[in-house]
Amino acid sequence: MRKIRSVIAAIIFVASGGIAVADGSGDPAALKQNETGEWLDKDGNPTYRINGDTVDWYTYSGYRRYHSDCHVCHGPDGMGSTYAPALKDSLKTMSYADFLGTVASGRKNISTAAENVMPAFGDNPNVACYMDDLYVYLRARSNDAWGRARPGKHEDKNEAYTKNEDSCMGKK
């Protein structure tokens, strides 16, 4: 089954000019942009838009936020560590909704062999205000649309994004 799927995926890959390999939220192709500069896929889920070495604002912002609050457990570039799983791989099967739920509420995996606990970040504005940014960056990593590097050129953050950010972070 897996083999058939990957063959189909390969065909789609070729047919569509090398963009779409499905992840946990389906086809990541960016179709439209909302007023905060966030790109959305056909189902309305946040996604990345990368042109050569230029990334959208969310991918860039997500990179920065990931390498502050997430990498201390999940390792650099979503690659995983001795301590926590590789989110680059997790997003291959995890949907946008599941991602939001896990980051907000945390997760426990405790058995005789493993004691993995992820905290709930719902009350932490440094994470909670940037859920979509993190998701978009990791979705790009998961689909190999962005590699193990800091994004260089990027779209700028716009006024609507800044306004949302300030109100979420409690800034005046």
Partner: protein, 601 residues
């Protein structure tokens, strides 16, 4: 076992006779017996040096595995076991098990302790659920659990004698460091620098577990325990020395964690340790020198009052925690006998001070790639005496929020982290496990929520330009501040070193090798690959006439998090080779104690 009982009996008798100093006298005596390893640091001087010489530079190549022991825990294993007579005490990361093993009964487990702890403490432990080990004193074994419970266990039975709560895990305060028994008190630090805790060193009564004193790293004078006699670089620090260097009440979430090793000079009656980074990692958000984060502390163990302090990195801009161990030695500088304190800081400078007065004698780079500073001002008449000169190109404060400063060496891991160095009085050299990693650092604004990470900077790490090694193991002359020899290691060396009278120095590597090198030349004499990467400290002891070398393997800690997948290659696409190699290609999780000895015949 008998020896423990005897020692306990003698200790109690002494207590009845002379009062309160029994555990101290007992421990000083016990730590002078090279057959035992009675403190996490080997001795009060933190020398990690053993007089045992059965294993020496000539025969170490014949070393064999004598026995092994699985701890049953997968996380990163820092620290090492205690050995007292026929008993060995082995600790683990969370859930913080303790095993008492009888070396005279084919290493049978005599007792085991496993606390019940709320697993919600796991994710507030920045960088893995490590624990750096146990302390012994007054017939008890002391453990600082992840949830900050300090527990005293009867060394013979494992029964809990008392417990004390040292912090609040729901605020991000956690326990990772090893306690130290000094006189009639148990000293313990606290972790949580990435969670905005107001960190402290605390002393508990060895008999009852009652808090005797607590000295914070920042705050009002009555909280940081200083008085009008407390000095910095020979001058009184004056009133409100800490409060003046913070904006508003930021000191209340100021960090300055104290999770490193503790040393003690019984003659001077001073305890030494370092305080860590100020919270947050965004320097713009906390203007001022942020005293006394990043500081070497010399405190009176009876009262907690500081005799002297020295802040190494005022207003930190890179997460260069000052927690690394203070190694005490007596050497001559310029023909004058000095009581010295040597410290290899995360900031890449090796410091030598007079430990009686806090006078700064040497401050030199112990990795030539260190590039954030041009050095420390050593001119006693200068207004900036004792301060490092920060170079603009590496200043994340100068660049400001949302600006990425590239190519800063060392990385936030430091040129050395908690992995303790060793000192051999035979060679008068320090043997230092080091990291050889640089970084990009971009600070940005964060808000504080109790119990949540309070970081405020984006980091990426990579080896220094042109180099393919991420670590070095060096020999250092603390009198002159010079590297005597340096061995490259593919990965950061994250294992505590051991020097011996046999002229051999031992350390572990992240791939999992236990290595023995010649103390004079650094020449590699022996290596053996243990089941997992080594972030533990090498220990030696003698039992039934035979010398053993023991080390915990079990990859993890910050090293395991940062290096498991390999470092980020700034020139992406060149492939994960050399300095970017993934540790996960060399080793996997698993806690094991491996014990070595020479063949019997």
């Amino acid at each position: 076992m008998r020896k423990v009982l005897l020692a306990t009996f003698l200790g109690s008798a002494a207590a009845l006779a002379v009062g309160s100093a029994s555990a101290n006298d007992e421990l000083i005596k016990m730590s002078q017996n090279p057959k035992d390893w009675v403190m996490p640091t080997g001795d009060y001087s933190n020398n990690r040096y053993s007089k045992l010489n059965q294993i020496n530079a000539q025969n170490v190549n014949k070393l064999q595995v004598a026995w092994t022991f699985s701890t049953g825990v997968l996380r990163g294993h820092e620290g090492g076991p205690l050995i007292i007579g026929n008993m060995m005490y082995v600790h683990t990361p969370f859930p913080n098990k303790v095993y008492a093993i009888d070396l005279s009964q084919e290493n049978k487990i005599v007792w085991k302790y496993e606390p019940k702890q709320d697993p919600n403490v796991i994710p507030v432990m920045c960088c893995d659920t490590v624990n750096r080990g146990l302390a012994y004193g007054d017939g008890k074994i002391f453990l600082h659990q992840a949830d900050t419970t300090l527990v005293a266990l009867d060394a013979n039975t494992g029964q809990v004698a008392w417990t004390a709560k040292n912090g609040d895990a729901s605020k991000g305060e956690t326990g990772t460091s090893a306690p130290m028994v000094i006189k009639d008190k148990v000293l313990i630090g606290i972790s949580g620098g990435e969670f905005g805790v107001q960190a402290h060193m605390s002393a508990y009564d060895i008999k009852t577990g009652k808090l005797a004193w607590r000295g914070y790293s920042e705050g009002p004078d009555d909280q940081i325990l200083v008085d009008d006699k407390t000095t910095a670089l020979g001058k009184p620090i004056g009133r409100d020395s800490s409060l003046k260097t913070w904006q508003g009440d930021q000191w209340k979430i100021g960090g300055g964690a104290t999770w490193g090793w503790i040393s003690y000079d019984p003659e001077l009656n001073l305890v030494y340790y370092g305080s860590g980074n100020p919270s947050t990692w965004n320097p713009k958000q906390r203007p001022g020198d942020n005293k006394w984060s990043m500081t070497i502390w010399a405190r009176n163990p009876d009262t907690g009052v500081a005799k002297w302090v020295y802040q190494m990195t005022p207003h930190d801009e890179w997460d260069y925690d000052g927690v690394n161990e203070m190694i005490l030695s007596d050497q001559s500088i310029n023909g004058q006998a000095r009581k010295l304190l040597t410290h290899f800081d995360r900031n890449g400078l090796g410091y030598t001070l007079d430990r009686a007065t806090g006078e700064l004698l040497v401050a030199e780079k112990y990795d030539p790639k260190v590039n954030w500073t041009s050095g420390v001002d050593m001119d006693k008449n200068s207004a900036t005496y004792g301060r490092p000169k920060v170079l603009d190109a590496a200043s994340t404060d100068k660049a400001g929020e949302d600006h990425n400063v590239k190519g800063i060496c060392p990385a936030a891991l430091g040129t050395k982290d908690e992995q303790p160095a060793a000192y051999s009085p035979d060679t008068q050299l320090f043997y230092v496990p080091t990291n050889h990693v640089c970084m990009d650092y971009e600070p940005f604004k964060v808000s504080y929520t109790a119990g949540q990470p309070y970081v405020g900077a984006t980091l990426s790490m990579y080896p220094p330009q042109g180099d393919t090694n991420m670590g070095n193991f060096i020999a250092w002359d603390g009198k002159t501040g010079k590297i005597v020899w340096s061995n490259k290691e593919q990965f950061s060396v994250w294992s505590g070193a051991l020097a011996t009278a046999g002229g051999v120095v031992f350390y572990g590597t992240l791939e999992g090798y236990l290595k023995a090198v010649d103390a004079k030349t650094g020449k590699e004499l022996y290596k053996f690959k243990t089941p997992s990467g080594i972030i533990g400290n090498v220990t030696t002891y003698e039992n039934a006439g035979k010398q053993y070398v023991a080390v915990l393997s079990g990859v993890g800690g910050w090293a395991g998090i940062g290096l498991a997948a390999g470092l980020t290659d700034p020139n992406a696409g060149l492939g994960a080779v050399g300095g970017y190699a993934a540790l996960s290609n060399y080793t996997a999780l698993g806690g094991t104690l491996t014990v070595f000895s020479l063949p019997s015949n």
